[in-house]
């Protein structure tokens, strides 16, 4: 600081008036959009953990048969309502590797219940990469290899067995194949319809916009559950489980699109006012090009976030339908179908483990919500 005779202070540091033009002002933002989004998303721990969990869950789906020790509909008549067995490592202070105590079933003739007692004297070690029931890897390759199975002559029910003596753990894994994909198929249907109608309404406006908006309002005013019930009751009962599954997910998608279409339309209306869209229009770009090149890339990320947030609704929808016996039907396995068994309060009271399929539902729905939340927060990475 120098002081001038008239009392002014002037900074002494050298100053270059021409410096700025070629410099990047925001070096931290000098990256493509996805990288900026990723950098911001990384800071969101809960969302990151949820994302990894969901990724692993989906990657697991083709290998469900390998991980599960039993087939989905494999029955153990001797072990109805067997309680969960704990995998242990130390037997009387000695390391044995993963082992279980064998269960012995005894009929209690006073209560007419099976009573299961672990035999603490006879630890038997689990077998790994062993032969078991046949399954198809990713639905294609036939295999009998399982990650682990029970020791000879024993059972391993990590989460207990159900009314028919089927392993709940294995069934949850198999059920994930349907329950997790129903959301994806549903959201695809809803995405296509939502983006289609939403963008048409938002871009062209006028009468089309009016008609689409009224249709959305009518669809949204219909009570959801009865409509689901009606639609799924219309599915012929002699169809194969796979066909029923597709129909159910499409029904869920058809009923979900109005919400998505609305947010697409709102985003479109906002983006249309952006000057880069005006600029493209004034350069002579056709509406198709403007939608494809400018509008969709700019709101795709928002759509992915809102889709992530609406997958849980689909999963819950499937669960609710199947729980009521109107969605997927046995022999198909889904979490909702499994919970169907838990409808009987008396049996939940005596065999609480048959309600375990609620856990994956809660966890997956939460994970999707956390992930969607994190995505939504990181989608606008341009502010510091």
């Amino acid at each position: 600081m120098t002081q001038l005779p008239d009392g002014r202070y002037v900074d002494d540091a050298p100053y270059d008036p021409e410096a700025s033009l070629q410099q990047l002002e925001r070096k931290d933002l000098d990256a493509p959009n996805w990288l900026l989004v990723w950098r911001k998303f990384r800071q969101h721990k809960l969302a990151l953990v949820s994302g990894i969990f969901l990724l692993l869950s989906y990657l697991m789906l083709p290998f469900a048969g390998f991980i599960a020790p039993y087939g989905a509909n494999e029955r153990h008549e001797e072990h109805l309502y067997s309680p969960p067995q704990l995998v242990r490592f130390f037997h009387e202070g000695e390391f044995l590797g993963p082992y279980i105590y064998p269960m012995t079933a005894e009929a209690n003739l006073e209560t007419f219940q099976w009573e299961f007692k672990p035999d603490y004297d006879d630890p038997s070690r689990l077998q790994f990469f062993c032969k078991g029931t046949e399954y198809r890897l990713a639905g294609l390759i036939s295999s009998r290899m399982h990650l682990f199975c029970a020791p000879e002559g024993q059972t391993v029910f990590l989460w207990g067995s159900d009314r028919l003596g089927r392993d709940i753990f294995s069934r949850i894994l198999y059920g994930a194949q349907l329950s997790l994909t129903v959301g994806l198929i549903g959201i695809t249907v809803s995405f296509v319809l939502g983006i289609g109608f939403g963008s048409v309404a938002g871009y062209f406006g006028g009468t089309i916009d009016w008609v689409i908006n009224r249709v959305i309002e009518i669809l949204r005013s219909l009570p959801e559950l009865p409509l689901w019930l009606a639609l799924s009751a219309a599915v012929p009962s002699n169809w194969s489980p796979v066909a029923v599954f597709f129909i159910i997910s499409i029904i869920l998608g058809i009923l979900d699109w109005p919400g998505l279409a609305r947010s697409v339309r709102a985003k479109f209306l906002a983006l249309r006012e952006e000057e880069f869209v005006r600029a493209a229009e004034m350069m002579g770009a056709s509406s198709g090009r403007v939608i494809r090149k400018h509008l969709i890339p700019n709101f795709m990320s928002h759509l992915i976030a809102s889709a992530t947030l609406s997958i849980p609704a689909m999963i819950l929808g499937e669960t609710a339908l199947s729980f009521l016996g109107l969605g997927l039907r046995a022999p198909a396995v889904s979490w909702g179908v499994m919970l169907n068994d838990a409808q009987n309060l008396a049996s939940v009271d005596i065999y609480p483990w048959i309600a375990i399929p609620m856990l994956p539902i809660v966890i997956v729905v939460l994970a999707f919500n956390f992930l969607g939340d994190g995505l939504r927060d990181s989608l606008d990475p341009y502010q510091s």
Partner: protein, 590 residues
């Protein structure tokens, strides 16, 4: 006597990053105005907020001291407890923010928001507070204080909202008023009135003012002391008058040179020749229909443009000047064919001097494509005019792709060439727009407009979102390109001083009507219309000897019914645009 506010060696940083303000110190004496001058990112707002400790959560004061010697004795604001700090805010020190719309709660009546200060600090009853608030409303110039007390912020215009903010800041008779760019979002005439009001209130109450601004013209009109900041450091500080006469620091000099001003001694100019017109608008009007307040009443008609006649000679610049809502942007959009004028209006475009003029709004597909190549637009907001998902290269080559010009490598070469033409390096082609500053983005946007080698460029307030020094560079660039490539500009602006240097002819618009039209020098030499006079008088110039003439501003800036009889117009009727001299047209009854 100790100064009212002392800031010593203040340093502020965000998170773990470098300090955004470092070693800033200044003093404010009672009854004085200190101007904090700097461009966006210079740290002036952060400094002000640090005084009241209302910084964003990630920012922390790293060193320094802020001392206030006000009504309650000496206080060290940096060490005060949060509870005592609350008692200072809005009472001894109050603040006015830049955006009057966002600083008032839209759900509360103005009167309640202003009274809140009194309820909180003075524990006044509602009726006692109301009395004082009404007095204040009258003082800040609300024509009907009772009505203002009951209205919601969205019912008021920007200038009125800023007056309400001032009333809110003044109601507790503060020792120090911090005004953070209080007039940046306002029109020139409103700015002049708001500045005048702050000055009057300062004289009346003897409070001190810290005025944050980027405009040296405002400084010349308001401040006794000036602190010039750049990148968080003080470049120069001291008394205003000597600094404006002879800036000592090169940065101050640069700001001073960049400040747009209306020439002090204008000479009337010769009217431009009108032989080779590239664009001609004849009797263009545009009426929008808006839904009425009640669902069963007929729709309301809004006249955005009324009977606009322009002719733009080839290679020249026609500027349209007016406040927001004057119809200038609508006129430009019609000129580009983006909007259809009402029946009877016609826009003619002549691509080359020999060719026959074509009507912009009745073209077939091929002619429209040809026209789009010839006429391009530069937009106002550099932050929204480039798609954040496209690399610079893609954004620049898009117009070529649309019109199917050249191969990929030719397109790329042309993009690089245009980038150099606007003064940027061609290694920027693969980057994304968000890494660039506003000025750089505006250059990119100009480069994109030049890609098709147009002959007409419509510039819609291309500099109003930029800092003064950047504005100067962009104007120089635009002038340079125009002369080198022989372009014609239709230049939209709200700032007469910006237009003064670039335009060959200026049309002043108000409420959809052109009120005066002449070459800029003629306009400054002999303004006839009261509104033009007001615009010229309201323009702050960085010269202490040319203060804003508030009387002239007040005469012209009001609504059209307050003008002298011969200029008056209503929604349905208006005097015609009369030629008072060759090349000088005024809307008046002769």
């Amino acid at each position: 006597m100790s100064p009212l506010l002392t800031v010593e060696d203040l340093s502020i940083g965000f998170g773990r990053g470098d300090a955004v303000v470092s070693g800033v110190g200044f003093e404010v004496n009672e009854g004085q105005t200190l101007a904090l001058v700097g461009e966006s990112g210079s740290g002036k707002t952060v400094t002000c907020r640090a005084i009241l400790r209302i910084l964003p959560r990630t920012a922390q004061i790293r060193s320094g001291k802020v001392m206030l010697h006000g009504r309650s004795g000496g206080l060290s604001l940096t060490d005060l407890g949060e509870r005592k700090m609350r008692a200072v805010r809005g009472d001894a020190v109050s603040m006015i923010f830049q955006e009057p719309m966002r600083s008032l709660s839209p759900l509360h009546r103005i009167g309640n928001q202003v009274s809140e200060v009194l309820w909180l600090h003075k524990r006044m009853s509602e009726s006692a507070a109301k009395k004082i608030v009404l007095e204040n409303f009258e003082r800040v110039g609300f024509p009907d204080p009772e009505r203002a007390y009951k209205s919601y912020p969205f019912e008021l215009s920007g200038g009125m909202r800023q007056r309400a903010m001032i009333a809110m800041a003044m109601v507790s008779r503060p020792d120090l008023l911090i005004a953070d760019e209080p007039t940046t979002a306002l029109d020139v005439t409103t700015q002049a009135q708001v500045l005048g009001l702050i000055n009057e209130l300062k004289q009346e109450t003897g409070m001190a003012v810290i005025l944050v601004t980027h405009d040296l013209g405002v400084v010349a009109n308001m401040a006794e002391q000036v602190v010039v900041m750049h990148k968080g450091r003080i470049m120069e500080s001291g008394a205003a008058a000597p600094m404006l006469q002879a800036p000592a620091h090169p940065y101050t000099q640069q700001l001073f040179d960049a400040a747009p001003s209306i020439p002090a001694n204008p000479e009337p100019a010769a009217p431009p020749g009108e032989d080779d017109l590239i664009l001609q608008m004849k009797g263009v009007s545009k009426t929008y229909t808006m839904r009425a307040q009640s669902a069963w009443k007929p729709e309301v008609l809004i006249h955005a443009c009324r009977g606009v006649d322009f002719s733009l000679p080839r290679g020249k610049t026609l500027a349209i000047v007016g406040e927001s809502g004057s119809g200038k942007t609508t006129a430009a959009r019609i000129a580009l064919g983006a909007e259809l004028p009402d029946r009877g209006g016609e826009v003619l475009f002549r691509a080359n001097p020999q060719g026959a003029p074509i009507a912009v709004h009745s073209m077939n597909r091929a002619a429209r494509t040809a026209f789009q190549k010839q006429a391009q637009m530069v937009f106002q907001d550099p932050y929204s005019s480039l798609s954040p998902r496209m690399r610079i290269l893609d954004a620049l080559t898009e117009p070529l792709e649309i019109h199917g010009i050249g191969s990929k490598s030719e397109q790329r070469d042309r993009a690089a060439a245009k980038l150099r033409q606007v003064g940027l390096n061609d290694d920027m082609l693969m980057r994304f727009p968000h890494a660039f500053s506003g000025g750089q983005r505006q250059r990119l946007s100009i480069a994109r407009a030049l890609m098709l080698e147009p002959s007409l460029l419509v510039c819609d307030e291309p500099t109003s979102a930029l800092d003064v020094s950047v504005q100067e560079q962009i104007l120089t660039l635009l002038e340079d390109i125009r002369d080198r490539l022989g372009l014609s500009y239709l230049f939209i602006s709200h700032d007469l001083a910006v237009v003064a240097r670039i335009a060959d002819e200026v049309a002043v618009m108000r409420q959809g009507l052109v009120v005066e039209q002449a070459p800029p020098d003629t306009l400054f030499y002999d303004p006839v219309h009261p509104y033009t006079k007001a615009l010229i008088a309201a323009q702050p110039t960085p010269d202490v000897d040319r203060p804003i003439n508030l009387k002239l501003v007040a005469q012209g800036a009001g609504s059209a019914d307050t003008w002298p009889d011969q200029f008056r117009f209503t929604d349905d009727e208006a005097p015609s645009l009369t030629q008072v001299q060759p090349g000088h047209k005024v809307r008046c009854h002769v």
